[in-house]
């Protein structure tokens, strides 16, 4: 009995549905079941093929493309980093070399200057010594000359005086007496001429 009612209700509902579809066939074509099976069939086919081709062929390729690009970029970044570090090290090395050579150059310059100064000093010392010696020699000579000068002058004065007196008076005068007079004069006036 219940079964019968259920069957009836299903049957009637189906009939009324048919009527509804019939009434709306001019309204909503979506509710017309004529091509439902066809749409399901073609949807399954097209979507199935789309899914299979995308998942098996295309998406793995895109994924690997993305991966390879990622790894390539990270590789490049790594390489760039490495090279930068290397260049930094090189730069440091270069700077070290520069400072080292600067210090070396300074040392060499200082050494050279010291050597030159030493040379100059030594030469100047030698020259000073020589000059001193020369001066001493000259002074000695001058002193000697100065010491000898009064004697020579006295002698000249004696001779001149004796000759003068001979010419003037015509008489021979004793040289010894003249020399005594000259000595006496020179002693008196020596201070005036020689300063000692």
């Amino acid at each position: 009995m219940i079964k019968k009612i259920i069957y009836h209700s299903v049957f009637f509902s189906f009939l009324t549905h048919k009527k509804v579809f019939g009434a709306e066939s001019g309204g909503m074509p979506q509710l017309d079941p004529e091509f439902w099976v066809s749409q399901i069939f073609w949807l399954t086919i097209t979507f199935g093929i789309l899914y299979v081709v995308l998942s098996k062929l295309i998406l793995p390729k895109i994924s690997s493309n993305l991966e390879s690009r990622k790894s390539q970029i990270s590789d490049n970044i790594e390489a760039a980093d490495k090279q930068r570090k290397e260049s930094d090290a090189k730069l440091k090395e270069y700077e070290e070399i520069i400072t080292k050579s600067k210090i070396e150059a300074k040392n060499i310059f200082n050494q050279a200057r010291e050597k030159v100064l030493k040379d100059i000093n030594a030469k100047r010392d030698v020259l000073d010594k020589q000059i001193d010696e020369e001066i001493v020699k000259a002074e000695n000579e001058i002193n000697k000359l100065r010491k000898d000068a009064p004697i020579k002058i006295n002698k000249i004065a004696i001779e001149t005086a004796s000759e003068l007196t001979q010419k003037l008076i015509g008489a021979e005068v004793n040289n010894s007496s003249i020399s005594a007079i000259v000595d006496d004069l020179s002693k008196r006036n020596g201070d005036k001429y020689y300063g000692n």
């Binding site: 001019g26 091509f35 066809s38 749409q39 073609w42 979507f47 995308l54 690997s64 493309n65 970029i73």
Partner: protein, 244 residues
């Protein structure tokens, strides 16, 4: 007849009638646009993945951006466990998107404006997600219907509501897409009809509406494809990571 805004949704046979048993599986305009959409997707993504250059060209960029977009969407909503279903969600999103977009071309046919198409997709997702849930959690999957932290008095009511909401998922999923596409296209057709009937004098207002609606519909076409895909992800998330 052309003024009837529903004519654009009519399905008609292209070529001969094909029958398997009692079932009519003839090639129709709907089938044609399914094939066209699928082919367009395959061609674009095949060209976009053919060459692997460090600086991608436009197609490659498009393919890779779509790939990362969907990957991010899945990982954001369903977590890392949903990775095996990436290809399915990708094809689903692309199929719905391309069907919607091809529907925007005048005189074309919108596959997704038919409830049967969207319902089959939604039902497939619903059944698939339910099977995945039972495989992953066994009968523990039924805990989905028992939210934690609910007073024992309210529990029977809550469970009933949860079951109803779970069972209505395929309906809401399919009707959302179908109704959006149908309503949009009907409205555009109606405004287009107004342009003709009001003529050169008064037709400018509905024409400007039509232009604005076209922009809106393109937005809706993308948005609905996105919503369809993201809801699939959310259902998948329920099945993979039982939160309740």
């Amino acid at each position: 007849m052309a003024a009837n805004p529903m004519t654009q949704f009519e399905v008609y046979r292209i070529g001969p009638e094909i029958k398997i048993g009692a079932f009519d599986i003839s090639f129709t305009n709907a089938s044609l646009f399914m094939v066209v959409s699928s082919l367009a997707i395959l061609i674009i993504f095949n060209l976009g993945s053919k060459k692997n250059s460090l600086l991608p060209n436009k197609l490659q960029l498009l393919a890779e951006l779509s790939y990362t977009f969907i990957t991010k969407m899945i990982s954001d909503t369903a977590g890392s466990k949903a990775k095996p279903y990436f290809a399915f969600i990708f094809s689903l999103f692309m199929f719905v998107l391309f069907c919607n977009m091809f529907g925007m071309i005048p005189y074309s046919f919108t596959v997704t404006s038919h409830i049967i198409v969207t319902f089959i997709l939604a039902a497939f997702i619903f059944i698939g997600v339910t099977i995945i849930g039972f495989i992953k959690h066994g009968f523990g999957y039924l805990r989905l219907f028992v939210p934690s932290g609910v007073p024992a008095v309210l529990l029977p009511l809550i469970v009933v509501i949860e079951i109803i909401s779970y069972l209505s998922r395929p309906v809401s999923l399919s009707v959302r897409l179908f109704a959006n596409m149908m309503a949009g296209h009907t409205m555009m057709k109606v405004f287009g009809g107004f342009v003709i009937s009001l003529g050169i004098v008064g037709g400018w207002l509905p024409l400007s509406f039509s232009v604005a609606l076209t922009g809106l519909e393109i937005l809706v076409a993308f948005l609905q494809a996105y919503v369809f895909a993201i809801l699939t992800c959310i259902y998948l998330n329920d099945a993979l990571n039982l939160h309740h």
